[in-house]
Amino acid sequence: MTTTTHAHAGPAPARRGFVGRYGRRLNEIGLLAAIVLLYIVLGAAASGFLSLDNQLGVLRNAATIGIAAWGVTLVIVSGDIDISIGPAVAFASVLVAKGATEWNLGVAGAVVLTLVLGFGWGALAGWLRARFNVPSFITTLGLWSVLGGLALYMTDALPVPLPQSPVFDFLGGSFLGIPTSALVMLVLFAVFAYLARYTAYGRSVYAIGGNAAAARLAGLNVTRVRVLLFATTGLLAAITGVLLAARLGSGNGGAAAGLEFDVIAAVVIGGTALAGGRGSLLGTFLGVVFISVIANGLVLLGVNPFFQDVVRGFIIVAAVLVNVVINRRTTGDRIA
C-alpha cells in the first residue's frame, strides 16, 4: 500500500514548491510591489506626494473605503455582494446629524441610533438573501435605492450641520497626529483579520463561499452567518457615515456617491474572488491602499478628473486580470 500511496501523493508535493509556498500569496506580493512602484514613481513625479500631510490625507481617504471594505470582503468571500455602501454611508451621516440636532438624542444617542439602524438594515437585506434566496445583488440594489432616496428626501439635499461636540471633533480630527478615522480603520482591520482567520464565524464564511450546500450539511448555520455578514456591512457603513459626518461637520444626503464601486474594486483588486470562497483581508488592505494612492496621485499629477475615471477603469480590469491569471497558474484547474 505504501507504494501506491507514494505514487499518488507524488505529484502533490511537487506542486507545492516555490509557487506552492507563495502561490496563494503571489497576488498580495504583486500588489505590494505595485504599491512600492507607485510610491517611487509618484514620489519622483508629483511634488508633495511624499509629504507627511499628504500621506496622512491618503490614509484618511483610505479609511472611507477601507472600513466598509473589511465587511464587503467577507460578504464577497461568502459568495454574495453588497452594492449599497455609498447610499448607506450618506444615509448614516444624515441620521447621526439629525439625531444629534433635530431629534434631540444627544451625541451619544445619535451615534448609537445610527449604528443600530445600520446593523438593522443590513440584517434585513441579509435576511431576504438568506431566508428567501433573493440574490444579494437585488436586495442591496433595493437598499441602495431606498437609502439613497431617503437620505436626500429627509434633508432636501441640504447639509444637516452637526452640533459642536468634542466627540465629533475627536472623530473628525486626529489622535496623536493620525486621523481618527484611519485609526478606526486600522483597529477594525485587526478585528476583521482575526475574525476571518481565527473564529468559527470567519471560517464558516469561507466554507459557505466555497460550497454553501456542503457547509449546511456540515451543520453550519448558513442563514445566521449570511444575516450577520450583511448586518456587519450595514454597521460598518454606518460607522463610516458617522466618521464622514464628523469630518465634514454635517450630514449630507448626497455624500459618498459611488463609494460602493471603490470598495468592491479594492476588494477584488486585493485578490478576493467574486465567485466566493477565496480572499484575504490583507489583500483587501493592499487593494485599499493601492486605490487610495492612485486616486491621490492622479489628482496631484493634475489629471483631468473625468480622465481619472478612465484610468481607474483600466486599472481595475488589469488588476483583476492579473489576479485571475495568477490564480489559474497556482491552484488546481479542477475548479473552473
Binding site: N54, L158, R247, S250, G253
Partner: protein
Amino acid sequence: GGRLGENGRVGVVYMDAQGFYAGVRDGMRDHSQSSGDGLQLLELNAQGDASEESSFVDVASSADVDALVLSPVSATASIPAVRLAHESGVPVVCYNTCIEDEAARKYVTSYILGDPHEFGHLLGDAAADHFESEGVTDPKIAVLNCEFVEVCVNRREGFENALFDRLPDAEIVANQQGSTIDEAVRVGERVLTAHPDLDAFYGEAGGATMGAVRTVKTSGRTGDVVVFGSDMSTDAARALDDHTILKADVDISGLAVGRMAGETVEDILAGEGSGEFITDAPIDLYTTPEDGARWLEEHPDGIP
C-alpha cells in the same frame, strides 16, 4: 372626483441635488398656498441628466400641465424638451438656468434669471476687497468647481473678471472638480498639500464652499487660507458668522426664486403676459458676520 392633478398642475424641474432647489419648491408651495390655486406640483430632480429631463418634460407635456417651471440641465441639450413643451402648448418658465438665447426667445415665456456671470462677479469683487484690505496684491486662489454644468463656468468667468480687473497679479493655481462636500474636502486637502502658499479657495457651489471651509479648518490653516463661496445654507451662514474662514458668500435665494416662479405662473394662467422676458432674481452677497446671523434668523428651517 379627487383625481390628483384635476385642479391643474405645474411641472417643475430641478437641475440637480442641491439645497437651492428645496428653496425653490418651498417658495412655489408658499405662493400656491397664499394664492389658494391648489395646483399640483409634478417634480423631477434631473440630477444633471438631460435625458431624465427630456423624459419628464414628455410626461409633463402629455399630462397637460398648465406650466412648466424648469432649470434646464443644459443650454443646448435641453432645447428639444423645451420646444416639445412649447409645441404642446405648455408655457415654459426658466429659472436659474435657461436654454440658448435664440431658442429661449422662441420657446420660453419667461426667465427668472440670477445671472451667473454677475453672480461670480459680485464674489470676485468681494474677494478683491478682502485682499486689498489685507494688502495682498498677488493672491493665489484655488477653485473647487462644479463645471460639469455650464453655469459654473460662467460663475468662474465672472469671478475672474472682477478679480483680475482689480488685482491683475492674482493667480488661479488650481481648478478641480469638487461639487459635493466630501469630494471637495478630498480634493481640497490635496490642493492644500500641492500649494502650501495658497491664499484662498473659491467654491463655485454650496458643497464646494463648505468642503473648502472644512478643509481649511481641519488642516489647521485657519487665518491663513480664506474661502469665498457660493450658495447659502445653515452651515454656510454659521461659517460666515464665525468669519474666520468664510469671508464672503454669494447666493440666490431659492425661496425668492420659487415665489417669483409661482407669481409668473399665476400671471401666465391669468393671461397677463408680463412685459419683460427676463425677470431678475435678486443676487445677495453676504460678507459680514452680521449678514450670517441675519440669514440664520430669517431661515430658521435652513431652506435657502
